[in-house]
């Protein structure tokens, strides 16, 4: 908790101004709660489709039945079980999110570290490219690209339309990581332990792998978590304009879109998957906040 600092005013004032200089705080329990919620969602996407009596495409009951014990999230317009569809859809979403976040962070971190360690010319060329990409009006371009190629690519576990969406997002998204990593790497480079490693005659590669990357990890991971929230909003938003995963493969966004026509009579078809997306977002927010507090705490 916050240590009590004396208020500057002798009397109690209606406006009690904060005195923040030493107010370091750590959200307690937030990390645990976030991880628990996330674990719940991940486990559900893995196990619900396995143990459920229904499949995602089977007609499991009458159309538009409200939530009940037999159908936890009710049934949709075709009588399919929304619960199973939500979690099968979650598989697709999470798979895409993981791919987006991992690919963007890998490319971005690599470019960022290389930029920070290379000559001024290379560095400034790389950074101008990054700046341009960051100021790119991302979302609409990403959607346009994903939309145009939405018919392509049923590869391995990815349904039609998934890979173009992922590639379109990664193509613009990596630059954010580069900017973040380069800034951190530059400030690390001026620290003594890096100077020591350089004086010891270690190669650049070794310094990057053994000294820079481990120290960058927390920052990058924290940003990955934030990015995973943004990614799911983008991915689940795509079906609304016809991009992203193509039907009949379920996905959180397309499930909600399908429910929007019967919103008035059968809210559950839309709201239930939507709630799952929101809980996913809350879980990641909690984790990200804790990680960022960790990063800030470590820096001071």
């Amino acid at each position: 908790m916050l240590t009590q600092t004396p208020t500057p005013a002798p009397r109690k004032h209606w406006l009690r101004l904060p005195h923040w200089r030493f107010a370091a705080r750590r959200p307690r329990g937030a990390l645990a709660l976030g991880l628990a919620l996330l674990a719940l969602i991940v486990l559900a996407t893995i196990f619900v489709p396995m143990i459920s009596p229904y499949t995602a495409t089977e007609i499991a009951g009458k159309p538009l039945m409200p939530p009940s014990l037999a159908h936890l999230f009710g049934t949709d317009t075709a009588g399919r079980d929304v619960f199973v569809r939500t979690w099968v859809g979650g598989r697709n979403d999470l798979l895409m999110v993981v791919l987006v976040v991992v690919a963007s962070s890998a490319i971005g971190t690599l470019v960022g570290v290389v930029a920070s360690m290379s000559s001024q010319l290379t560095d400034s060329i790389l950074m101008r490219l990054t700046d341009a990409l960051i100021s790119f009006p991302g979302m609409i371009i990403v959607m346009a690209i994903a939309l145009v190629f939405s018919g392509v690519g049923e590869v391995g576990p990815f349904p039609r339309g998934a890979l173009p969406a992922v590639i379109a997002i990664v193509a613009i998204n990596w630059a954010s990581y580069t900017r973040l990593v380069r800034g951190e790497a530059l400030s690390l480079r001026s620290r003594d332990f890096i100077t020591a490693a350089t004086l010891l005659g270690y190669s650049k590669t070794r310094i990057i792998i053994r000294h820079l990357l481990p120290n960058l990890a927390t920052t990058v991971v924290a940003y990955m978590v934030v990015d995973a929230i943004v990614a799911v909003v983008t991915i689940a938003g795509m079906p609304f304009i016809g991009a992203g995963i193509q039907p009949p493969a379920p996905e959180w966004g397309s499930l909600m879109l399908a429910g929007s026509t019967v919103l008035y009579s059968a809210w559950w078809v839309t709201v239930m998957p939507g709630l799952v997306v929101t809980v996913y977002g809350i879980a990641l927010s909690l984790i990200a906040d804790s990680l960022l507090a960790e990063v800030d705490g470590g820096a001071r």
């Binding site: 979302m139 990403v142 800034g183 909003v233 429910g259 929007s260 929101t278």
Partner: protein, 365 residues
């Protein structure tokens, strides 16, 4: 959510970017970065009072040009990679090869790619986005103009809502200690931040359907005629930005409070509200300007989705229809116009920085 004191923002990742974005804009580098490693304007010797400004502007213009060329190239190659011949698409399956060839010639499709590219760029500089492939009597400008106006009116309305609510919440949570009220507001902000705008939009739509507080979607004429249709989708869209503004402002107010001049103002015995309104707030509002410029691209994309939910004839539905009928010049036009809008408002945000905060001017020198 008792223990959610999510002070370090989930959106702080964005703030980092905004921060670096703005420093990049004015040509200054992160203070944490050693100056020896910085490139560009920071290194240049001073030539006169305005040389810093000159270089910062030159850099900015270069960057704008780079982004524009990038967007044009991407959209142009998008048209090239798509399988199928536009002329064939227009004339249909049963057209004779001769008529297809004639149309190709008319549309300039038989010219070499480089010539086509140059022609397109020249046309773009004249503000001509081309002709729709589907209804050949209509230009792309005519097709997307009204749609874009509708979308931007939703975005603008959402921006206003976000600013009003976000700044209010930011101030309230910023100037109070970590009490229950602050914690509750923080928790609400985390939840809002985690809710996709289209999800929130559907919930609002459901509420509107049940209570009739607003028409459940739709549109009527121009944005001005449609005010009663706009506010609900705008509210839905605004939750993408409101929590980000609120949390960013809270953070920056608290950082400002830790500075000596605030302590000095309090020590001088100035009224509290005066300290907050005249000393803390002006020094804390700056990041919001960059935040708006930075979020605009995302807002336009988000609006495209929210519009579908509310059945508004904006760029979202226009783009969807265009892809459905393979009317790619329209897709290209939408991407380009959005890009130019975002670039324009980002430049505006930079200019605002320049005007509001004299420190950014010296930083660039």
């Amino acid at each position: 959510m008792g223990h959610v004191r999510a002070d370090r923002v989930a959106a702080r990742g964005h703030q980092e970017l905004v921060k670096s974005h703005t420093t990049m804009v004015v040509g200054a580098e992160d203070s944490s970065a050693p100056t020896t490693a910085t490139a560009g304007t920071g290194q240049r010797p001073r030539h006169g009072r305005h040389s810093g400004l000159f270089w910062a502007l030159a850099k900015r213009l270069g960057q704008i040009a780079f982004v524009l060329v990038g967007v044009i190239t991407i959209t142009f190659s998008m048209l090239q990679v798509i399988p199928g011949d536009p002329a064939r698409l227009i004339l249909g399956k049963f057209a004779t090869p001769e008529s297809v060839a004639t149309l190709r010639h008319e549309m300039g499709l038989d010219l070499p790619l480089t010539t086509q590219f140059v022609n397109m760029v020249v046309a773009l500089f004249h503000g001509d986005l081309g002709t729709s492939l589907v209804s050949r009597t209509q230009t792309v400008n005519e097709l997307i103009g009204p749609a874009f106006a509708n979308t931007m009116s939703v975005v603008g309305f959402a921006l206003v809502i976000s600013l009003v609510i976000g700044i209010a919440v930011g101030i309230i949570t910023g100037i109070r200690r970590n009490d229950a009220f602050d914690r509750v507001l923080q928790a609400v902000m985390v939840i809002l931040l985690s809710t996709p705008p289209f999800m929130f939009g559907m919930v609002l739509l459901l509420v509107a359907l049940r209570t009739k507080i607003a028409p459940a979607g739709g549109w009527h004429g121009t944005p001005v005629d449609s005010l009663k249709y706009i506010w609900l989708p705008a509210l839905a869209l605004s939750i993408a930005l409101t929590p980000v503004i609120a949390r960013s402002l809270r953070q920056s107010i608290r950082e400002t409070f830790a500075q000596d001049f605030v302590e000095a103002a309090i020590a001088r015995g100035l009224p509290r509200h005066r300290v907050v309104l005249r000393h803390v707030l002006p020094n804390s509002l700056l990041p919001i300007v960059g935040l708006i410029g930075y979020s605009l691209g995302g807002l336009i994309g988000g609006a495209a989705v929210v519009e579908i939910v509310f059945n508004i004839p904006g760029i979202g539905s226009r783009m969807m229809a265009a892809v459905g009928s393979r009317d790619f010049p329209v897709v290209q036009g939408i991407a380009l116009v959005s890009a130019v809008t975002v670039i324009f408002f980002n430049a505006l945000a930079d200019a605002a920085y320049w005007i509001i905060d004299p420190r950014t001017r010296t930083a660039a020198l």
